[in-house]
Symmetry: C2
Subunit: 256 residues, 2 copies
């Protein structure tokens, strides 16, 4: 039996504005793609659309940088007001060198610039330089969207919110989970026997991150990209995963 995984980027997603109904946007994209939701389908959303719908904009002109922000801005050659916002969104600074500011985000993952985005932020009614912060609680954002889509469709669904992260050791960004609802984050294969009867010792697979990467591939990154991808054929049972499942405890992390 061959079951395929199919990822369909949803067309016709307009620019998202604060207060927009994400479930309605998803439905519009599904309609344009000719898709009807079924049990076990997953919707993957780029962080940007969720953050924009939640109004997570900040205006640099409104930010007064602290002394610590000014000092880090000098070290990293970044705008001190942007660095102030990054610090407010972070628990800890891991690295600060020219052009690079790597932090532990308040949500617990490690990323550059606390995920704050200056590109693709639309001009607001008020003039100024705007940036976009990550959603306040992406697991909760995913759960709300899932509930709305499940109520409308009657199907059991998963929702995954992703962002593009750089990595240690390797070049290039990959899509990474920042929030989820209704699908597993990790699948634990420890203790299962392989086909020669050996017991696999450590095989916890980050299936949500694998799906995040897959969906990111189909989103593109610039003008022609689409921020919502429909997934059919996820090969594991749906379950209640959380972002926290994917976060390596600090005391077990050898690369801080």
């Amino acid at each position: 039996m061959t079951r395929a995984l199919t990822l369909t980027p949803l067309p016709a997603i307009p620019e998202v504005r604060p207060g927009d109904d994400l479930a309605a946007l998803v439905q519009r994209g599904l309609d344009a793609a000719g898709l009807t939701l079924r049990d076990h389908d997953i919707l993957v959303l780029a962080q940007k659309v969720v953050s924009k719908a939640e109004g997570r904009f900040a205006r640099l002109e409104d930010v007064t940088p602290s002394e610590r922000a000014r000092e880090l801005a000098r070290r990293t050659h970044k705008d001190p007001r942007l660095v102030e916002l990054i610090l407010r969104e972070s628990r800890e600074v891991l690295r600060a060198v020219p052009g690079v500011l790597i932090v532990e985000h308040r949500l617990g993952f490690v990323c550059a610039n606390a995920g704050i985005d200056r590109s693709n932020v639309p001009p607001q009614a008020e003039p100024g330089q705007w940036v976009l912060l990550l959603p306040v609680d992406p697991d909760a954002s995913a759960a709300r969207l899932r509930a709305a889509l499940e109520a409308a469709s009657g199907a059991r669904l998963g929702v995954l919110i992703i962002d593009s992260h750089g990595r240690a050791w390797r070049l290039g960004t990959v899509g990474m989970t920042i929030g989820l609802s209704g699908l597993p984050a990790l699948v634990d294969l420890r203790g299962r026997a392989d086909r020669h009867g050996y017991v696999l010792r450590v095989t916890q697979v980050a299936v949500a991150d694998e799906l995040a990467a897959a969906a990111s591939l189909m989103m593109g990154q610039a003008a022609e990209g689409t921020p919502i991808v429909h997934v059919r054929g996820f090969p594991y049972p749906l379950a209640e995963g959380r972002l926290a499942d994917l976060l390596r405890p600090r005391e077990r992390d050898l690369f801080r």
Copy 2:
């Protein structure tokens, strides 16, 4: 226009033995799945099948550990003979603590245990404890398989060889590129304008790693898994990528 990405795990792949013809194995799986190769299709193979076909087995009984291997074995609680093989396959040890040995592999990427695998290694004709090393040159392995499949099919193809790696900061393994031929490793979106006219400053996307993660999701990890996945709908032009494209230069790596 909606173009979907479809990943189909190929059924009917038997246990692979040294000297097996990988192109014939792939063809057998494609036939079983009812697929015919077309231009722009990509085949993704788990490292294990490539290594087995190339006969990359080693027997622990044949290995004499060096003093350095014995010392690292004490620190990591690992078999000194296994540690000796890991050192022979590595350029540098990054971390060694109980249960964990992280190295820079001679191929240039950072991974645990130099990618040497003790699970799912079949019993050989000779008794003993066998392990499986990574292919000697996975880019070359991918190029050879691609040439054979292109010659047989007449289609322009990509071949990607992947392994499961742990990550800094996050739990769980994800599929990662260890060799490729005929598809890009990185796609450089730097300098393109987003839809508001901002110029994206740094957006190099590790598309091969995103595809590696996607395919890994469909391979599973244990008895029921399949090691070869067919991909249709890769959203970028095919190009000549190399593993080296994905490796962050040591001097630009802040997390060593």
